[in-house]
């Protein structure tokens, strides 16, 4: 008997505003109003400037390791813009732009990378989970959060962000499988930036697209130009609608590029060619958005100048606020371990700087 085709897969790609300024009005019009587009451009510019400042802070010893977001601003921003304010945003660490749009203060993110847990103490009203460091683990939390919302009959969905490297992790596959099989309203957004530190995409995924990974779990999948704010908004709108109306997950591959190093501790020149970086600099989401605004007569160089001045004031003020926060008390490392501190932990806290634990109980000890 002949082999029969039982299933065929096609992956669609959406691009609305490309790096040459071509704009697909049919798909793009109505997605983002003019005033919003100006605000979104300003948000990306602000995030970009923060990256520059953060880099200098790290280099001058005022901040620890920091992962620049440069080049990847459009994806999370597009999602935060089009989602409801009370939809969960479950991110890793290259989604600052979306978090700031949601209202997370810049100083929170700075504080986190300055080595202070209080940076993660984000008010629940932002519906943004704290930065997730272990790669590819947070998508399961998004599935759980979406599940809790479905359980209570709320319309809130969860949108989660992760990189292409994260799709190699088992937890990604478990999250996709849970969300698809248990009908959970999740939007999976993979920011494919081609590099997991020094590991190229071909070592993370042999399939022609990352998007098709979602197909294996029965999810509709879409690839978009991840540096195209319009395409990102379009895709998340599409997926969010399916999540809200049908209570089902979708998978979006946002093709983008990390213009900077993985973190300030990395040197990308060790593993990738400058020529490749230069190509992607041309595809920068900020440049094409600005050009588009100028074409629409919504922007000019004097507005740009005024905006850059505003951004500088805002970001510099956030840095001042972050640096002005006094160091935590030493005892703080204990105080949030449990709702109620166990006696032996309270004892460790209360004796941390005075004497050994044994001497408390009348045992002779040496060395203090």
């Amino acid at each position: 008997m002949p082999r029969n085709v039982v299933h065929k897969v096609e992956i669609e790609r959406v691009s609305i505003l490309d790096e040459h300024g071509n704009y697909d009005a049919k798909l793009g019009d109505g997605l983002i109003g003019d005033a919003d587009l100006v605000r979104l451009y300003e948000a990306m510019s602000s995030c970009r400037y923060l990256d520059e400042v953060a880099f200098k802070l790290q280099r001058s010893g005022r901040m620890g390791t920091y992962p620049q977001n440069m080049g990847q601003e459009a994806g999370s921003l597009g999602a935060a813009f089009i989602l409801d304010k009370e939809d969960w945003l479950v991110t890793c660490y290259r989604e600052n732009c979306g978090l700031f749009w949601r209202g997370v203060p810049m100083e929170s993110i700075l504080l986190h990378w300055m080595g202070d847990e209080r940076g993660n103490a984000m008010p629940r009203a932002h519906f943004a989970t704290p930065i997730a460091v272990p790669i590819g683990t947070q998508m399961l939390h998004a599935a759980g959060l979406a599940w809790a919302s479905k359980y209570r009959g709320e319309s809130r969905i969860a949108c989660t962000f992760f990189g292409d490297g994260a799709t190699s992790e088992g937890d990604f596959h478990e999250a996709a499988n849970f969300a698809a099989n248990l009908d959970l309203p999740v939007v999976f957004c993979c920011q494919n930036n081609f590099w997991a530190i020094s590991t190229p995409g071909r070592i993370e995924c042999s399939a022609p697209t990352v998007a098709q990974r979602g197909v294996a779990y029965g999810m509709p999948c879409l690839q978009v130009d991840g540096n195209d704010l319009f395409a990102c908004v379009y895709a998340v709108k599409w997926a969010a609608q399916r999540a809200r109306q049908e209570c089902k997950p979708s998978f979006i591959e946002m093709v983008t590029y990390r213009l900077g190093d993985h973190t300030t501790a990395d040197d990308a020149r060790r593993y990738r060619d400058q020529a490749e970086v230069d190509i992607w600099k041309e595809r920068d989401p900020l440049i094409r958005t600005r050009k588009h605004l100028e074409q629409k007569k919504l922007w000019d160089s004097s507005k740009e100048e005024a905006m850059q001045a505003r951004v500088k004031i805002d970001v510099d003020a956030a840095v001042v606020r972050a640096e002005e926060i006094a160091s935590p008390a030493a005892a703080d490392l204990f105080n949030s371990m449990y709702a109620e501190l166990p006696a032996q932990l309270a004892h460790q806290r209360d004796t941390m700087q005075t004497h050994s634990l044994a001497s408390e109980h009348g045992v002779r000890t040496t060395g203090h």
């Binding site: 599935a143 359980y151 937890d171 371990m337 109980h361 045992v363």
Partner: protein, 322 residues
């Protein structure tokens, strides 16, 4: 009041908490239609529906990771991991997220989660179905670790665990599941996490144990002519150091019994704490009767691995006559 075994007592606790609080949901592999491989969740899905008793895909990290999300989203998930040998795939979610969430967000996000896990050997199970990993999770700050040895304690402790605002791993000794029956009140009651139980009082020697080993200790005690105080820790973390200290200061001699391997087992922590708190009262070194630093053997040799009444009795004599 009914005469229940451990399985029935845990089942009753789950029913009562699910009736009391609709944020409580049960999830895991085979927990629904099948009632769990040990039948601990028997009848729950029929009673509370598929929405609250959920058969999940076969993926332990997925079960715990989604439970973390459920808990952050305001529910009180009670996931089951089928056997302790399969807790490993969820280790990252437990230790990198559940345990850390409260402190790394300074209380902005919390994970009220109770992970039920059958534990330990003695039931002729296949490999990886008989381990005792309680020390591994007690070493991880941010979680609580509970292991009852009796139906009465199991009911009261499970209710406390479900109501606890922090993540709890609730180990259920398989060997005790159907081995012991006792009166378990129908009425609601709780047993505080972090409080040990003095099983029987005595003046010559303190024996400290938990889980199924408590039963082995009781057998050893029955054969001994000495006056022995037996303490069932019930909670492995946080340890009830006050109860341990009071007892050892009274008896001056102490033994610790557990199924898990010797090295860096919780017996080591108990021994160190006894040294710090009771040094001048001790008349003998702390004795440890434990599993060996070997892989838990297949079941033909499992009884040679686990502490039994004879080994415990020898240690009691060593400590008493030192």
């Amino acid at each position: 009041m009914a005469n229940l075994n451990l399985v029935q007592a845990i089942n009753l606790a789950l029913i009562q908490e699910m009736e009391r609080d609709d944020r409580v949901i049960v999830l895991g592999e085979d927990v629904g239609t099948n009632g769990g491989v040990f039948r601990v969740t028997e009848g729950l899905q029929k009673r509370f529906g598929e929405k609250r008793v959920v058969d999940t895909p076969l993926a332990e990290s997925g079960i715990i990771g989604t439970s973390i999300g459920l808990a952050m989203g305001g529910l009180r998930p009670v996931p089951e991991i089928q056997f302790e040998g399969f807790l490993g795939p969820a280790y990252d979610q437990i230790c990198s997220h559940a345990a850390r969430m409260r402190t790394r967000t300074r209380g902005a996000f919390t994970v009220p989660l109770t992970i039920r896990v059958p534990v330990g050997g003695g039931i002729h199970a296949p490999e990886l179905h008989s381990d005792s990993p309680e020390a591994i999770y007690s070493h991880q700050p941010g979680i609580k670790v509970v292991m009852p040895s009796s139906p009465y304690d199991a009911k009261g402790l499970l209710i406390s665990a479900i109501r606890d605002p922090d993540p709890v791993i609730f180990f259920e000794p398989k060997r005790v599941y159907r081995a012991v029956r006792e009166e378990v009140p129908e009425d609601e009651y709780t047993i505080p996490i972090g409080k040990a139980r003095v099983v029987c009082e005595g003046g010559d020697l303190t024996v400290i144990s938990w889980g199924a080993s408590v039963i082995q200790c009781m057998q050893a005690l029955e054969k001994s002519s000495r006056s022995i105080e037996l303490i069932d820790l019930r909670t492995i973390y946080p340890l009830d150091l006050d109860t341990i200290e009071a007892s050892v200061k009274k008896t001056g001699r102490c033994g610790v019994v557990h199924e898990a391997p010797l090295t860096a087992g919780m017996g080591a922590e108990v021994a160190a704490q006894v040294m710090e708190r009771c040094f001048l009262h001790l008349e003998a070194p702390v004795q440890r009767v434990t599993g060996f630093d070997t892989i838990m053997p297949y079941y033909k040799l499992e009884l040679n691995y686990m502490p039994d009444a004879a080994r415990i009795a020898l240690a009691i004599e060593d400590a008493a006559t030192y």
